[in-house]
Structure formats: structure tokens, C-alpha cells
Amino acid sequence: MNYISPVLWQFISRWLHDFPLFPPEASTIAPQADALFFFMVLVSLVGLTVVVLLIVGFSLLYHKRRHPHAVQIEGSTLLEATWTIIPLGLFLIIFVWGALVYFRIYTPPANAMNIYVVGKQWMWKVEHPGGQHEIDALHVPTGRAVQLTIISQDVFHSFSIPAFRVKREAIPGRYTTVWFQATRPGTYHLFCTQYCGTNHSHMTGDIVVMTPEDYRKWLQGSTSGASLAQDGERLFASLSCNACHNTQPDARGPNLVGVYGSQLTLSSGQTVTVDDAFLRQTILNPSQGATQGYATIMPTYQGQISEEGVIALVEYIKNLSTDYRLQQTLNTTEIPPEIEGKATGKASAGSGEVKP
């Protein structure tokens, strides 16, 4: 065989050895999504079989040779109702079931560990809270809910992990989230599934699922010295956010301690819950969510901080549960950021790019 045609040989041997027909189920949601999938396959098979049986059966029974004269029939309300109501019922079941799965996939549990993902032409940058940075790869432990907060720096991308049955669009200018809990260690595909330009098909990577112990080892091995929040802290200082947001009584900006998750009243009278999206929005476009009681003096940082930088700031503000850290930040303001950066390694340079 090999002599005749190497290509054919390669093809046949691959067919015999490596011919997946079904993707691995490696997350808790995968079996649930698949159950619905199989239910739909079943429904479809039934529906299709009925159609095919009718066509083939009637074709045989009423072929002109066997049945030379057609009998005219106007229709039948009963039948009409049957094939309206049965498919409708089945479709509605599918709808409800699908909605349940959908809400499960897009509603992260409260205790999920948050990982940030930034998509850009044509790579995925992943930022762990511990300061680990990855490109085109994502390491996660089994048995823990992981929430991804995704954003794009340029065009639409889509973060897809077939083995987990989850996928979420990375949208420029907006955080989206998805979550999963991996169940089986292994390496799975990561695809960008939204067409994003020339190298769309190269925007792939690996999802590495590890046992919790391996994961801990990996975390230690690849840390860059500073956590994401620390990067944020540094940025907070270097962008002089703390000139206004400090805990002094005469501060020009509101106190940010514990602001995350709290309810804010905006000057428009609306109340909002402070979440990632809100934080990002106020940093980039403060005037749009101006807090009641404050002047809209906060400058806009649109175009001055990279998405990774914003993520670092958001992570920092999220973790401000006491003003201890803020005080610390105040003390480091004096140190120019470049020196800081050198002092703690390369990590901050990566995340805290400040565009001129």
C-alpha cells in the first residue's frame, strides 16, 4: 500500500487509528449540553424517519403502475393539527431545555476563580490573578469553577473550547463572561471561532487541564513575581489615580475601597451594581457613569491604557477591601514607575503598557 500511494496510505491509516466522531466531554456542562444534543438528534431522527417513511411508503403504494387513478383529497384538519402541535411541542421542549443550558453556561457561580482573556489579532492573551501570563494557552485545574472575563482589543473574536462545550465572543470594548468546570485532565483545543481576518485559523491554542496539584505546581513555576492586582496597583500609582482616589477626607474622587459589588447611585439617578464592566467603563469613559455627588473631573483614559492594563486596574480595585493597600500605594507614588518595573521584573512591563 505504502508503495502505491503514500498519501492514500497515510489517509487509510489515519482513518483506522485516529478518527474521532465525537469530541471529548471534559467539563461539567458538557454532558448536560450533550444530553440535549442527543435528545435533539433523537427528535430529528423521529421526524426525519416519519418524513422518509411517508415518502417511500406512498411512493411504493401509489406508484402510477399500481395506482393509476389518483383520489383527490382536500386535506384534513386533524392531520394538520397533528403536525402543527407535535413539532411545536417538541420544539418548545427543546427551547426550554436549551435555555436552561444556556443560562447555566452564561451564569458563573459566585465562587468561580476569575481569569482574564484578551483577544487580539491573532492571539489570545490570558492573565491569571496570580500574575501568570499565557499566550495561546490556558491552564486550569480540574474541579474548580473557572470564570473567564473576555475582551477583545480589536475585532470580534470568539473563545471556543469544544471539549467543554463553551464558547463566548470576545467583543471590543466590552467584557463578556463564560464559565466552566473542567473534569478530565488533558490538553484540548482552543479555537478562535469568529472570523477575525487573515490569520483567523492560526488563532488557536491549547487548553491544559491539570489536577489541582499539578496546577499548583504550574502556578508556582510560572509566576512572574507580581500578581495581577499588584500590576494594577503599580499602574494605579503611575497613572496618578491616587491623586484623587485616596482615602484622605479632602479627596477629589470617591473612595474606591469596597466599591466592587456595591450599589452606586449615578448622577442621573440610576443605581448600578459595580462590576467589572462598570469599572472598565468608568476608567475609560468616566463621564458616562458619573457618581452622584462628584464633579465629572476624572480624565478619560480611553486610548491611554491597554486592555491588559485596564484588566490589571480592575483586578486591583476589585481586591481593595481595606484601605490598607491604598495607603501603601500612596507611599509608593513617589517612585517613578520605570524603576518600579525594573525592580520587580518584566511582568509589569507586559501588563502595564502605558501608551504615550
Binding site: F11, F19, T84, Y102, F103, S201, H202
Partner: protein
């Protein structure tokens, strides 16, 4: 006449094609280019869309060749991107949208309603010219380097990140859109205002009903696409940011506007096909369509509901979860009328007297393939599974099943059905039946593996893919070659039949539509005198009586 066929051709030794018909009435290129005759315009359309179909098909062949191997061996990724974008754009806007309405519909609708022409012949011609202008712009786009946005023009990719010819492609689609608006508008007016005496709404053939529904979609949906493309073009040329997040615009707004057209557009593409199937299934089982009113109203229901499901293309794109819910529910509702139609056609066979000429073979193929395609649409309409399946080959397989397995099949069915009327000649029956079967096999081989690929997670619009997907892709490519043969055959034998085919006579299929009661090819004014509709649609007894009385009087 054998019992296995209903074909009744006139005695070939004496039969002649009528000397005066719409083809011979006037001669010369100008008489075609300035014609107001709907049948000539339909012919012009037929030629132009066939041309674009084969361009699109050649691009499809390139896609499949590239995907034969996992790496990007044949073309660079950016070339591949252009190839599938042009394939999608050409197939959708230059082939499938005008396919049945602008050719077959143009040809038969006026005759079916008993009119001498469409209400607005000049607008009809204008619509063809717009199509040609758009086509030239598309060819221009292609020849200067193409466009690689995908057929969906996704912003901000199309507006700010690509340096290919988005503007000319966008304008081409814009112009093509107006061509389709004018066709639709013309149909609506004709169906409302030009029906002959006695032709009540419920005596109209179902082909007219479904084209009516499609026309409503064209008239109301297409302008939204037009303005969206204008905004895209302005954004690209002037750099303004309604769709650009960097300037505060919203790319999702683009998605809303685009899909507001493009979802109804898929029904523009399928509804006329439904009409063909109704005609063909009825004719070849010698029976009135089962549940005429249900089939008629389901077309209208699809047209109305079809407007309110567009966001099912955006489930993972960050629309609010609640509106995902609403759109998913409406998607389920819009799927039901299609089911109604399928079962009504199946029951039309019941107690019929069925024969299997080529149009019927295509129609039966349609019913199977469209059911699969439609049901996989339901997979995608269900929010939970859509997360996994969206943007993968599952979607590609879904829409090829409905568009190629559905609409293209019904287009071919219709072409074979009305060909004798159109040209006055028959094609070789055995070869055409063979071609229909080849198409069916090739089709399944091409696109069924793609469902599995999609389930495995292979993303669409990928120039290269992980090696474990190769086996299925090889099947798919192999199928595409078979499919290509299946499409080339009709081109060959239909052309052949123009000169050598048997004379078809007035009514080779013994069908009941008004178009079958006049000479083939028809006169320019269709009817020698205004017809009067004095029977229901698909009244085979009426036809028998009529033929009996004709024989008696001769």
C-alpha cells in the same frame, strides 16, 4: 404511453415549435436588451445567474481543495479568506436570492395569474440591469483582489482592519439589493392587481403564494441591508464610528441591522423553492396539494415571523440573555410552518398516482435534505446547543443543507419542470434522472460529514485545521467533486436539448397551471385572449374534461 410516466409528447414527426413565440418574436441583441417581456427578462436572468453559479461553484471547488489537507498548502490563508468570502457573497446575492424568483418566478408568475406581463415591465428590466451592474462590480472586486470579510461584513473587521475591496463589494451588494427589491415589488403588485377574471386568492397556484411571501420579505428587509452597507462604506471611507467601538459606536448594532435583513433573506431564498415543490409534487402525483390553505398560510406565517428571529445569529455575541430567550422562542415558532409544509407535501403523495420524472426526483430529494437542514436549524435555534455549535462546520452544514439541498434542488427541480414550457423542448430524461441521483449522493457525501466536523468543534472559515479532522474533510471534498459533476450535467444536456430535444408540446406533464394551457414557448403576450379562471388550482378532473372535450372537438 407507458404507465410509468405521465409524459405525453405530441407526435414527433408532425410536431413543430410554434413559429411565433416570445423567443422568435423579435430578433437581434437590442430586442433582448430593451425587452419588456417578462419571459425574456427571465431568460436573461437565467443566463446571468447560471454564470455566477459556476463562478461560485469554482470557488467552492477551491475551498474544498484547500481543505483536503490540514495545512494551508494550496493557498495562503488570506487567499483562502477571499475565496470563501467571494463564494458566499456570489452564491447568496448573485445566485440564490435571484435564483427561483427572478428566473422561474419572472417567467411563470404572470402566466399563472393570467396576466400578459408583470405589472411594471420597465422596472423588471431595470431590476435585471441593476443585477448586471452589481455583478460587474462584484467581478471588478474579484479581479482587483477580492474581499475577505466573509459574506457577513462583520464590523469592525470590515470597516477598520481589512485593506481589501470592501467598498466595492459592499456597493455591489447594495445595488444587487435594489435589484431584488424591484423584483419583489413587481411581484406583489402583479399578484394583487393583475389577476385574471375568476382568479381569486385561493385559486392561485401555491408557487404564487410562496413568491408573494418572499417578495414581502424582499421589499421590507432588503432596504435595511442597503442602509447598513451605506454606513459601512461611509465608515470605511470617512472613518466615522457608528459601528466602531473605539469611537464609541457599537459593533452589535451592525449585527442587529445586518441580520435584520439576512435572516429574512434566508426565507427569501427558501420560500420560492417551497413554491416549486408544491407545483412539482402535485403534478407528479396527479393530486391537489394536500391542505392547500395550510400550505398557503404557512408561507405567510414564515414571512411574518421570519422578521422577528434575527438575533439567533447573535446568541453568543453579547446580546442580553433575555432577548436571546425571546429570539430563541420565536425561532422555534418559525420552524413549525416549515414542518407543516413538509408533511402536507408528503401527504400529497397519499392516494396519488405517482411518477418519478426528473423534477419529481429533485423535489423528493429536497424534502429529505431540507428536513435535515431545517431540523439542524432547530439545534442552532436552541440557545444551549448553539453555544457549542455556532461558528463551526455544523452551521456550514446546516445552511448548505437548506440552501443547496433545499433551494438549489428546488431550483433544479423547477428548471427541469418548466424547461419544456420555456424552450418548447424536452431534455433527455434518463440522463437527467441520473444527474438528479448523482447530485443527491454527492450532496450527502459533501455536507453530511460537516455535521460531525461541527460537532467535533472544527471552526468555520479556517484555512487550516487540526489533523484529526482530515478524514471527514476528505470525504467532503470527494463528495464535492461528485456534486460538481451533478451540476455540470444539466448544464450540458439542457444546452444540448435547445437544439436536439424532443418537441414538448403544450403540456408534457399534463399539469393544471394556466401556463400549461398555452403554447410552448409562449407568445409574447402569453394569452391570445384574457383567460378566465373557472376552476380551483390543481384541478386534475378539470384538465381531464378539458382534454377530453378537445379530443372530441377535433
Amino acid at each position: 404511453m407507458s404507465t410509468a410516466t405521465i409524459v405525453s409528447l405530441p407526435d414527433q414527426s408532425t410536431a413543430r415549435i410554434p413559429k411565433v413565440n416570445f423567443l422568435t418574436k423579435e430578433n437581434g441583441l437590442l430586442s433582448w436588451l430593451l425587452t419588456g417581456d417578462h419571459k425574456r427578462i427571465a431568460t436573461l436572468y437565467l443566463i446571468s445567474i447560471t454564470f455566477f453559479f459556476f463562478i461560485g461553484g469554482a470557488l467552492a471547488a477551491l475551498i474544498r481543495l484547500q481543505l483536503l489537507t490540514p495545512g494551508a498548502e494550496l493557498m495562503a490563508t488570506d487567499t483562502y479568506d477571499k475565496v470563501f468570502s467571494m463564494h458566499g457573497l456570489i452564491m447568496v446575492f448573485f445566485f440564490l436570492v435571484p435564483s427561483v424568483p427572478a428566473t422561474i418566478g419572472n417567467f411563470v408568475i404572470p402566466i399563472m395569474v393570467g396576466a400578459k406581463d408583470l405589472a411594471l415591465p420597465k422596472i423588471n428590466l431595470l431590476s435585471w440591469y441593476l443585477y448586471v451592474i452589481a455583478g460587474i462590480m462584484m467581478i471588478y472586486t474579484m479581479s482587483v483582489g477580492g474581499v475577505d470579510t466573509g459574506w457577513t461584513f462583520t464590523t469592525p473587521l470590515s470597516t477598520h482592519y481589512l485593506n481589501t475591496h470592501v467598498v466595492s463589494a459592499g456597493l455591489a451588494v447594495f445595488v444587487a439589493g435594489f435589484s431584488s427589491i424591484f423584483t419583489g415589488l413587481n411581484f406583489i403588485v402583479t399578484i394583487h392587481k393583475m389577476r385574471c377574471p375568476g382568479m381569486t386568492w385561493f385559486r392561485l397556484p401555491l408557487f404564487v403564494w410562496s413568491n408573494y411571501a418572499a417578495s414581502v420579505l424582499m421589499v421590507l428587509g432588503t432596504p435595511v441591508l442597503a442602509i447598513t452597507l451605506v454606513l459601512v462604506v461611509l465608515e470605511r471611507t470617512l472613518g466615522i464610528g457608528v459601528f466602531d467601538p473605539a469611537k464609541g459606536g457599537d459593533p452589535l448594532l451592525f449585527q442587529h441591522l445586518f441580520w435584520f435583513y439576512s435572516h429574512p433573506a434566508v426565507y427569501i431564498m427558501i420560500l420560492p423553492g417551497f413554491g416549486v415543490i408544491s407545483e412539482v409534487v402535485s403534478t407528479f402525483s396527479r393530486k391537489r396539494v394536500f391542505g392547500y390553505t395550510a400550505v398557503a398560510f404557512s408561507s405567510v406565517a414564515i414571512a411574518v415571523f421570519g422578521f422577528f428571529v434575527w438575533a439567533h445569529h447573535m446568541f453568543i455575541m453579547g446580546i442580553s440573555n433575555y432577548s436571546a430567550l425571546v429570539f430563541s422562542l420565536l425561532t422555534m415558532l418559525v420552524a413549525v410552518p416549515s414542518a407543516i409544509k413538509i408533511y402536507n407535501w408528503a401527504f400529497t403523495l397519499y392516494k396519488g398516482s405517482i411518477t418519478f420524472e426528473t423534477p419529481m426526483l429533485y423535489a423528493l430529494g429536497f424534502m429529505g435534505l431540507f428536513t435535515i437542514g431545517g431540523l439542524t436549524g432547530v439545534f442552532l435555534g436552541s440557545t444551549g446547543t448553539d453555544i457549542h455549535l455556532t461558528e463551526t462546520y455544523f452551521v456550514v452544514a446546516h445552511f448548505h443543507f437548506v440552501m443547496v439541498g433545499g433551494m438549489l434542488m428546488s431550483f433544479l427541480s423547477g428548471i427541469h419542470f418548466w424547461w419544456p414550457k420555456w424552450t418548447g423542448r424536452m431534455y433527455p430524461e434518463k440522463i437527467s434522472q441520473f444527474a438528479a441521483v448523482v447530485t443527491y449522493i454527492g450532496f450527502n457525501l459533501t455536507f453530511f460529514p460537516q455535521f460531525i466536523l461541527g460537532m467535533l468543534g472544527m471552526p468555520r472559515r479556517y484555512a487550516s485545521y487540526p489533523p484529526e479532522f482530515q478524514v471527514l474533510n476528505v470525504f467532503s471534498t470527494a463528495g464535492a467533486t461528485v456534486l460538481g459533476v451533478g451540476y455540470l450535467l444539466p448544464l450540458l444536456y439542457l444546452t444540448w436539448s435547445l437544439k436536439y430535444g424532443a418537441i414538448a408540446g403544450e403540456n408534457p406533464w399534463q399539469a393544471t397551471g394556466l401556463e400549461w394551457q398555452i403554447q410552448s414557448p409562449p407568445l409574447t403576450e402569453n394569452f391570445a385572449e384574457t383567460p378566465i379562471m373557472d376552476h380551483e388550482a390543481y384541478d386534475y378532473d378539470w384538465l381531464e374534461r378539458k382534454q377530453a372535450s378537445e379530443v372530441a372537438s377535433v
